[in-house]
Amino acid sequence: MNIKKLTILALFTALALILSLVDSMLPPPVPVPGVKLGLSNIVVLFVLLRYEKKDAAIVLIVKILLASFFTVQFSSFFYSLAGGVFSLLIMICFLKIFGNRLIPLTSIAGAIFHNLGQFAVALLILRTAGLLTYLPFLMISGMVTGLFIGLCCLSIHKYIPPLTFSQE
C-alpha cells in the first residue's frame, strides 16, 4: 500500500467515523432499536464506487472498530459488524450487475441488508421471538434511509473530482 493510498483511505475512514458519530447523536425518529440514518454508508459506498472492494472493506472495518471504541459500547460492535459486512457484500453484488449506474438501488439494497444483519445478531443474542415485530419497521426504514444515502452518494460522485492512488 503506497503512502497516497494510505492517506486517502485514512481520510475516508475519518470522514466515516465523524458521520457515524453525528448519526448516533441524531434522535431516533421511531422508538425501534436499529433505525438509523446510516450516514457513514455514504463514505463506504463512495469508496466502493471509486476504488476497490478491498479498500471499502478496510474503511468499513476500521470505522466500526474505532466507533465502538469511541462510544465504549462493545455490544454495538457485533451489530455494526454484521450489518456492515452484509451490506458491503450485497452492494458489491449490485455494483457487479449494474455498474455505477443505479447507485440509489445499490444503496437501498445495502441499507436493507445492513438492517437484516443487525437483526440477525439481535435475534442470536436476545433469542426472543417477540423481536420479529420490529422487522417490518427495519425494512421500511432501510428503504427510506437507503434511498436518501444513495442520492447523497450520487451527487457526491458527480461533484468530487477523481482522486487516484497513483504516485506522481
Binding site: 431516533p28 422508538p31 415485530t133
Partner: protein, 137 residues
C-alpha cells in the same frame, strides 16, 4: 440514466423494484396490524441475555415500584412497574431508545434495550410464557 442500461440490467432493476414494492406493501400492512392490534395482555416477561429472569402479572400489581437490573459489563436499567403497565425509566446506554418507548400496558412491540441485552415482552395472561418460542402475526 436508464438509457445506458443494457436490457438485462433493466430486467434486474425492474425485478428488484417489484420486490421492493411487494416488501414495502407487506411491511406497511404488518406495521398497521401491529399498531392496531391491542392484545389484552397482562403479563410482562423480562428477558436478559436471552433468558427469562422475571415474569410480572401486571394486573395484580397494586402499587408502583421500581426494579433495578444489573446487566452485562456493569450496565444498569431501572424498570418501573405500575398497576397494569411497565416501562424502562432509566438506562445507561447512549441511545435511550428503551426509555423513549415509555411506559406501556400492552403492545405487540416489545420494549428493548439492545446495548444492555434487555427485553420486555408482553403476552396474554393465559399463555404459558415458558414455552413461548415462536410468534406469528
Amino acid at each position: 440514466m436508464n438509457s445506458s442500461l443494457t436490457k438485462q440490467q433493466k430486467h434486474y432493476a425492474l425485478l428488484f423494484l417489484v420486490l421492493l414494492a411487494v416488501m414495502a406493501f407487506f411491511c406497511t400492512l404488518a406495521i398497521i396490524l401491529i399498531q392496531k392490534r391491542q392484545s389484552s395482555a397482562t403479563v410482562a416477561s423480562i428477558y436478559q441475555n436471552g433468558s427469562l429472569i422475571q415474569t410480572i402479572s401486571l394486573s395484580s400489581v397494586t402499587a408502583p415500584y421500581q426494579l433495578k437490573l444489573d446487566g452485562p459489563n456493569g450496565s444498569v436499567n431501572i424498570i418501573e412497574v405500575r398497576p397494569g403497565s411497565i416501562g424502562i425509566v432509566e438506562a445507561d446506554c447512549p441511545d435511550q431508545i428503551c426509555v423513549n418507548m415509555g411506559i406501556r400496558s400492552h403492545s405487540l412491540l416489545p420494549i428493548t434495550c439492545l446495548p444492555n441485552r434487555l427485553i420486555i415482552v408482553f403476552s396474554e395472561a393465559t399463555e404459558n410464557t415458558d414455552t413461548f418460542d415462536l410468534m406469528t402475526y
